[in-house]
Amino acid sequence: MANMIPISTTTVGSGGVSSIAFTGIPQTYTDLVIYLSTRASAASDSVGLRFNGDSGSNYAYRYILGNGATATAGTGTTTYTLGGRQPESTFTANTFGSASFYIPNYTSIYYKSVSSDGVSENNATTAMAQLTGSLWNNISPINSITIIPGSGNFVQYSSATLYGIRKY
């Protein structure tokens, strides 16, 4: 039976922050899970992950996205995993988006896959819901994860929680 064990959690304080980093991640679990409740200070509703500080173009992704009017899909390579969504600064006040990332076999010596889902919140026509599969083209075990907004800051009361999955 798998157990989902909270490792660490944090909530953004007054003034916001540009990123949230979990460092010193224990190598004793099989998989990792991150849950986010965030809101952007800028006109950008994306959230992504960077592993071990790797800022190279080593993250491939494929997504399907609905915005309330149209659905699109796409693929590409970038400098961190995409996938999360959050309300941008123009969206309905006092709302926060939800996103989750599942990272299996994060201690393995193979490339790391990530599956994620994210939704923004907006009392209007446009609000995003996205499913994304990503691949970090690196064989290093993951020991740190930085959570990055597309632009701007995470506002106060945004939160992030890291869990470990133990399958025994």
């Binding site: 980093a21 460092t23 010193g24 950008s44 994306s46 800022s55 149209t70 796409g74 597309g150 632009s151």
Partner: protein, 76 residues
């Protein structure tokens, strides 16, 4: 306003708010630029698809032949 980040050290449980270094600020700006480029490409593709779909619908109603790209928006 000073740019900061939260660092949670899972090995100690300690959480700190750290001011970004000049390198981290530069990286942050590069990340934002990369994201803006990817987002612009996504939005352009979305708009192009919507335009093709609209054109395909108008031609169907008018009984006119569709282009292959227009048909692709209607047939999966």
């Amino acid at each position: 306003m000073t740019d900061t980040k939260i660092v949670v050290d899972c090995s100690t449980g300690e959480t700190t708010v750290v001011t970004l270094t000049s390198e981290e600020i530069a990286q942050r700006e590069a990340d934002a630029a990369a994201f803006a480029e990817a987002e612009a490409a996504r939005v352009a593709a979305e708009e192009a698809k919507a335009e093709l779909k609209s054109s395909a619908k108008a031609k169907l109603i008018a009984g006119q032949p569709l282009t292959a790209e227009e048909a692709d928006t209607l047939v999966i």
